[in-house]
């Protein structure tokens, strides 16, 4: 008879705990050796550019990647330094970041959340990326932001417009330079009311996923506050290609405005179908029927051809802006690639510079130090006027552009014209606004 205290259940429990410990991904255990995840130790620092290189947003991803490469060149002291010359902060010296040469790895998000998380994870674990940035979808941004929070690296979001990214899904390690659906509504509604009247009846077609819902909610709230009536809000499947059966019911209503809360291929097809069905020639109660596309992307708008002429929408940035920062960026990008940059390229270039600058000011790559440097940071010279990276939700607050499809484009890039620059005060909201409620930044995670 043995006197040992070992029991079968006890052995199993200990085995399970030990097994779970061994199985823990290295991203959770690496911190034991370094001060924070992927602390650069040699003469280089690696950034991870996670963009859609395949799938429907591949062209947008390609433009983001061009901007990242340009930003890396400028950070390393090559090229004409672009917006580093106009950036209000002068911490960047053109010798990399904190004296370390900037290198990068790329991942393919495929515009799928699981694929985007897998590529980000690979760049963090295998390539030692100290920061992840990019993407062209809110679903992807929210997923990758969550992963970066767990892994203890900074996430500098690319093109993501859903309120949720810095609303209910905000994270302490995540930062968004791009504007959001609320800001589109706040900027667009007064222009719509001024141009089309304050007593319009709107019919919404909305892509049935996180971005579409927040976009619809934002535009409905902003236009109803100015007197518009919402006749109907219809959700359309993300996979829909032909929108004729969603557009024809509009003919049977007394709606006189169609709001297309669609992006990418959805937007191209729904707008094309709406124009085909004669909505732009339609008269309701003696007034012209109007179509609105709240989030415009020049790259995507090209697919809709001349159907975008005269259509109002909003955008984060446009290459035709004449401020010194925009001009410097367009010159660098245009000289290198032969065409002007998209808003996706602009926001990703800015995010790279903002991250690098924060590292310089913090004197470390430690994500908690970088986050602290970005929180409440006010800057100028990056093409959007005076901008604040708000500490409460890690959202940038800056002017928003209301644009219109150009009637007489002079080139294939000259598709949109800026009709109004909405001042930042008009698009600023309380951090506890109901559309952004339900989440918390939490604590910064350094890995």
């Amino acid at each position: 008879m043995s006197n040992s205290n070992l029991t079968r259940r006890g052995v199993l429990k200990s085995g399970a705990v030990a097994g779970a410990g061994v199985a823990l991904p290295t991203i959770f255990t690496a911190s034991s050796a370094a001060a924070y995840t992927n602390e650069p130790t040699g003469g280089t620092v690696t950034l991870g550019f996670n963009v859609p290189q395949s799938g429907p947003y591949a062209d947008e991803g390609a433009d983001e990647l061009r901007a990242y490469q340009l930003a890396v060149e400028h950070l390393n002291g090559e090229g004409d330094a672009g917006m580093m010359n106009t950036f209000s902060s002068k911490a960047l010296k053109g010798n990399g970041i904190l004296g370390k040469k900037v290198e990068f790895v790329t991942g393919d998000t495929q515009t799928k959340s699981d694929a985007a998380r897998a590529s980000a994870k690979s760049m963090i674990e295998k390539d030692g990326a100290v920061m992840i940035t990019g993407g062209s979808s809110s679903g992807v941004a929210v997923a990758v932001q969550g992963l970066c929070q767990e892994a203890g690296v900074i996430f500098m979001a690319g093109l993501t417009h859903s309120n949720d990214t810095t609303g209910k899904d905000k994270k302490a390690n995540g930062f968004r330079h791009f504007f959001n659906a609320y800001m589109s509504g706040a900027a667009l509604a007064p222009v719509l009311a001024a141009r089309y009247g304050a007593d319009r009846k709107a019919y919404h077609l909305t892509a049935d996923y996180t971005w579409g819902w927040t976009q619809e909610e934002s535009i409905v709230a902003a236009t109803e506050a100015l007197g518009w009536e919402t006749v109907n809000t219809v959700k359309t499947p993300l996979a829909a290609t032909d929108f004729s059966s969603y557009i024809t019911p509009i003919l049977q209503t007394d709606a006189d405005v169609l709001v297309l809360n669609h992006y990418g291929g959805n937007m191209v097809n729904s707008l094309t179908n709406a124009v085909q069905f004669g909505l732009r020639e339609k008269q309701v109660n003696g007034r012209n029927f109007e179509i609105v596309v709240p989030l415009f992307s020049r790259l995507m708008a090209r697919g809709a051809g001349e159907n975008i002429k005269g259509i109002l929408g909003s955008t984060n940035w446009h290459w035709s802006l004449t401020d010194a920062g925009s001009a410097a960026f367009v010159k660098s990008f245009g000289t290198k690639y032969g065409f002007p940059p998209s808003q996706a390229a602009h926001t990703t270039y800015c995010q790279t510079l903002l991250y690098a600058d924060a590292c310089e000011r913090a004197g470390t790559f430690n994500p908690c130090g970088v986050a602290e440097a970005l929180e409440g940071f006010e800057f100028d010279g990056l093409g959007n006027g005076k901008t604040l990276y708000r500490a409460d939700d890690h959202q940038c607050f800056k002017d928003v552009l209301v644009v219109k499809g150009k009637d007489n484009p002079t080139s294939e890039f000259d598709l949109l014209e800026v009709v109004e620059i909405t001042p930042v005060d008009q698009v600023t909201y309380d951090p506890n606004h109901p559309m952004f409620a339900g989440g918390a930044l939490g604590e910064c995670n350094a890995g």
Binding site: G55, V268, Q276, W319, F413
Partner: protein, 347 residues
């Protein structure tokens, strides 16, 4: 009641053009399955290639030379380069512009030899090696081929949709409401979608006439019914079946060419239609050409009705599952599909 009637009429019209595309693709799929016994998952890619034939011809006709206009500047402030299509400089601005404007209808002629060739190469180069393999192998290899083809198109044309407009003469829409005694602007329908429906009807009619009234067609039909006996009679049925593959590819390609103005072509458009077209084939009855056409239009119309707001209010999300729901019901009631024959895919 009038409100309901005009809504129903509109959805029938919507269903007819959707159904036209389904029917044309399903017709080609059935032709290939009926003749060669191959389940061709690359058929959607042929539809996509057809649409890109229209894009390519439009680009070829728009090929331009550049001249510098010192009075204008480009986005970098350099003197602007003005593009003038060669065709406008050769034939005069008006004639040249008119030819470019009509590039989609012209692409019908441009696409037929291309699609026949693509179909021939696909069949001789790849698919013939899989005739005796299980259907699962055929599905895998043709699905792989479809991905290769769409990635090739994406590489050369990009991922974004490319606007490919109908001729100006067919832009705008027709007011059915006025003709039928309803108020104006209630039942309007784009001219080009009407053209698409008429075109589909002509192509479907031509395929049936070809099979019904020509000796070639008679042999093909005999081969579809009993391949072995036709072979024993000394007829080279394989050669004819290869030609039928080419014809099926051309039908899918023509469906794609004419679809280009309806929705701007993108590399993924074939996949969007592929799964639905297979459902159409199965519902119609594997191997039945009239079944494919009937099911194509029927499911197109049902899909349109399911998108109506009052139906979606009662059954949310019905628009996304209606086709599969109907397919399940029909297959439970008639396991061989609407017009399926005994013995097809049952060995």
């Amino acid at each position: 009641m009038v409100g309901t009637m005009d809504a129903i009429l509109l959805q029938i019209l919507n269903g007819l053009d959707k159904g036209s595309a389904y029917a044309l693709i399903a017709l080609g799929l059935t032709l290939i399955f009926g003749t060669l016994g191959v389940v061709n998952f690359a058929h959607g890619a042929l539809f996509m290639i057809g649409a890109f034939c229209a894009v390519t011809l439009q680009r070829l006709l728009s090929l331009s030379f550049e001249t510098v206009d010192p009075t204008k500047t480009d986005f970098l402030g350099n003197p602007a380069k003005i593009k003038t299509p060669y065709i406008e400089s050769w034939l005069g601005p008006e004639t040249g512009a008119a030819i470019i404007d009509w590039s989609v209808p012209l692409a019908i002629l441009f696409s037929i030899p291309i699609m026949l060739f693509v179909g021939y190469v696909m069949e001789r180069g790849l698919i013939k090696h899989f005739y005796k393999r299980p259907h699962a192998d055929q599905i895998l290899v043709t699905f792989g081929l479809a991905i290769v083809l769409q990635e090739l198109v994406k590489h050369y044309y990009g991922a974004n949709p490319i606007p490919t407009g109908a001729p100006d003469a067919f832009k705008g829409s027709f007011d059915f409401g006025v003709v039928l005694g309803f108020d104006p602007n209630l039942i309007i329908y784009p001219y080009w979608r009407m053209v698409y429906f008429a075109f589909a009807a002509v192509i479907i009619g031509a395929v049936f006439a070809f099979l019904q009234f020509t000796t070639f067609g008679m042999v093909v039909r005999a081969g579809m019914a009993d391949r072995e006996t036709v072979g024993l009679l000394g007829i080279n049925i394989d050669k004819r079946f290869t030609i039928m593959f080419g014809i099926a590819a051309a039908v899918a390609g023509l469906a794609g060419v004419m679809y280009a103005p309806i929705n701007s072509p993108n590399y993924h458009m074939g996949m969007d239609f592929l799964v639905l077209s297979f459902v159409v084939v199965v519902v119609g009855g594997m191997g039945s050409l009239p079944g494919a056409v009937l099911a194509g239009f029927m499911l197109g119309i049902l899909e349109s009705f399911a998108s109506m707001n009052w139906i979606k209010d009662i059954l949310p999300g019905i628009d996304q599952i209606i086709i599969y729901l109907v397919a399940i019901i029909i297959l439970l009631a008639r396991p061989r599909g609407l017009m399926g024959r005994k013995g097809v895919m049952e060995d």
